[in-house]
Symmetry: C2
Subunit: 380 residues, 2 copies
């Protein structure tokens, strides 16, 4: 076994989820992640905790969904009961074929998502982490060799997480007491939203490994403007490219995509909350140096910003603030490394990918180039 | 996918467990059984039921057991909670390496078995079935080519189960009201036991697929005499050969094996009940034509008899009869095709593998050759 697999297991068990003697641990993993499951069981055994593994099987899931009537999808009582007795969830992504769901009717995908909602809610009550085990299929999607993809995955995971967390805290502090956020990029993104009263999370690699983002949930009624996302969104095995969304009073009133727009429409139609924003996230993991069409990594990449359509994050929304409910949580991502800025209550906190506390931050940009007040002149 | 895999799934879903709309189904399967899991999900979807799969992973189990302290094994609350909400369990056997547990300390194997006991008890309350998916490693253990092993497995499974069940019922009826059973084979097996008041089960392929045995639980205090088992017993990855047991007042007072005797000793020391007999079974599946060192098949083979050390079968033991409790249930098997007979309340019901209602049954054997009263002259 690759030594990095054992190191990965150590980070997941000891840093991300802090597994202790007696904990019940649910590992949810697909077949290609077997090495990581073995390494996890070894580490979990050393801690005296109690694991079981749910086999995530996209081939079986496809066969099931195609055979089912859409109205027969229901919450699986045994899976829900197990989750209620679970202290720690380690969810491992690792594809044999990321397009396995591509010939499943979207309505069934939505029905399946809705049926899983109570289990997702229970999972959020545990100490959970989502991570990635490298496979050839995921390397292919990233357009990397299998070896280069493994280097990329472990390069993003095996980091100084304490240092990362401290750097992120400066941005989290800036957002925590703020109200108005404005995001401008090129000539097709100008989005305004309110985060007043919301709590910001500093993802230093606890619930996502790799971590490396600062995120909060906006007021779901506050989002106004339009945004273009540079990075494809994957939904039930379909790649949705060049997503553009127009918001009025928090709701998507217009949408477009250059590829698989029908899958985007289907996503937005899942439920009421799927047309609203549940998350605003800012990527800060500089160990991630390229987009690989894998949201777990892409959304952490420095010089990117993402929104999630759908369910808000419980940790971010105090009881007295509006919470966006939805069966989906779909992240879409924009590159903000050029012709871009993020403004918080009128102050630019990031310009062209650099934060105000970083050497690369340009205090006095040319008018019209990443300026908070000028007109952007975007060159595609 | 091999068409026989879909036929196998159909038998498991429609015949063995009669899955209906709304049932919660727990599939417990290892990685090499993926094709069968996919076929099961398709069929379960057609029935409108709700599956989840627990990944049985002997590599992970080994790593866990080696890392754990023996005293830390405990019942997994989340696995128990899931089982309590499960209507149907489909347990699939399929090895990558049947010796995966061979370097795990036996004491930990016992601790693990004890910890699983409450989950096993809950599983027995469901509609459950144990079956086999063919793999190269299991073919190797059977000393067959991969193709021949697959033919053997599906030959035993794809049968006229209604006809099989009727034939077995004649033997079940003979045992149901009986008291004294005597089993004689060669010069090293002469065992007597009482089945008075016990219920006989006709395994026509419901809980085991393949099925094909008639079985009951003896009075755990009644077993007397000695028995030699011809077929190896596998325990935590170890092959235990040529097992001989001597019983007095139901308890094993002497035991021997030509290979891995220490594993046999360890098995017997699991708990009080592991030294007593929990099952007497008579194999009747003539579709199984050779011993393959796989108890799921071997115990069903015509012309064999088996005992299980350990836990009795709930269906066989009425509330007013003694029930043997144990964390183990380990089947050991004897060939009764030659120099053998089974006597029930003084009547020979099987001689040299043939039942009294079969053409091959010899009404008037030579004295000393499979005779109920003569001395056997066993030639090895």
């Amino acid at each position: 076994m690759d030594d990095r697999v054992r190191r990965h297991a150590e980070i997941l068990v000891d840093y991300c989820t802090e597994i202790r003697s007696g904990d019940t641990v649910l590992v949810r993993a697909p077949r290609p992640a077997e090495d990581l499951v073995v390494a996890l069981y070894e580490r979990i055994g050393e801690r005296g905790a109690h694991p079981m593994t749910e086999w995530l099987n996209p081939r079986a899931g496809r066969a099931y969904a195609r055979a089912m009537d859409a109205e027969d999808f229901a919450t699986k009582d045994h899976a829900l009961a197990a989750m209620r007795e679970t202290d720690v969830v380690i969810l491992v992504k690792a594809s044999s074929n990321a397009a396995e769901g591509s010939d499943v009717d979207s309505a069934k995908g939505r029905a399946s998502s809705r049926a899983k909602q109570p289990i997702l809610q229970e999972r959020l009550e545990t100490r959970w982490v989502i991570t990635q085990h490298p496979t050839p299929a995921d390397a292919q999607r990233a357009e990397l060799s299998t070896e280069a993809w493994a280097d990329y995955v472990y390069g993003a995971i095996d980091r100084d997480w304490d240092g990362q967390r401290e750097r992120q805290q400066r941005v989290a502090d800036a957002l925590d007491d703020a109200d108005a956020v404005r995001l401008v990029s090129g000539d097709d993104t100008d989005l305004r939203l309110s985060i007043a009263g919301m709590t910001t999370i500093n993802d230093g690699g606890r619930e996502n490994m790799p971590g490396g983002e600062v995120a909060t949930s906006p007021d779901p009624g506050s989002v106004e403007g339009e945004i273009r996302f540079d990075v494809p969104l994957y939904r039930h095995g379909r790649e949705i490219r060049d997503v553009t969304l127009v918001f009025e009073e928090g709701v998507v009133v217009d949408h477009a995509a250059s590829h698989n727009e029908v899958a985007l429409t289907s996503l937005l139609e899942t439920d009421e909350g799927a047309r609203r924003v549940g998350e605003l996230g800012i990527g800060m993991n500089r160990g991630i140096d390229q987009i690989t069409d894998n949201i777990l990594f892409d959304e952490k990449m420095g010089q990117t910003v993402h929104l999630a359509l759908g369910c808000a994050m419980e940790e971010c929304v105090p009881d007295d603030r509006p919470f966006n409910e939805s069966a989906v949580h779909a992240d879409v991502l924009a590159d903000v490394s050029r012709d871009s800025y993020i403004e918080v209550d009128g102050e630019v906190i990031q310009r062209n990918g650099a934060f105000w506390f970083e050497d690369e931050f340009d205090e006095t940009p040319e008018p019209g180039f990443g300026s908070a007040t000028g007109v952007t002149d975007y060159c595609p």
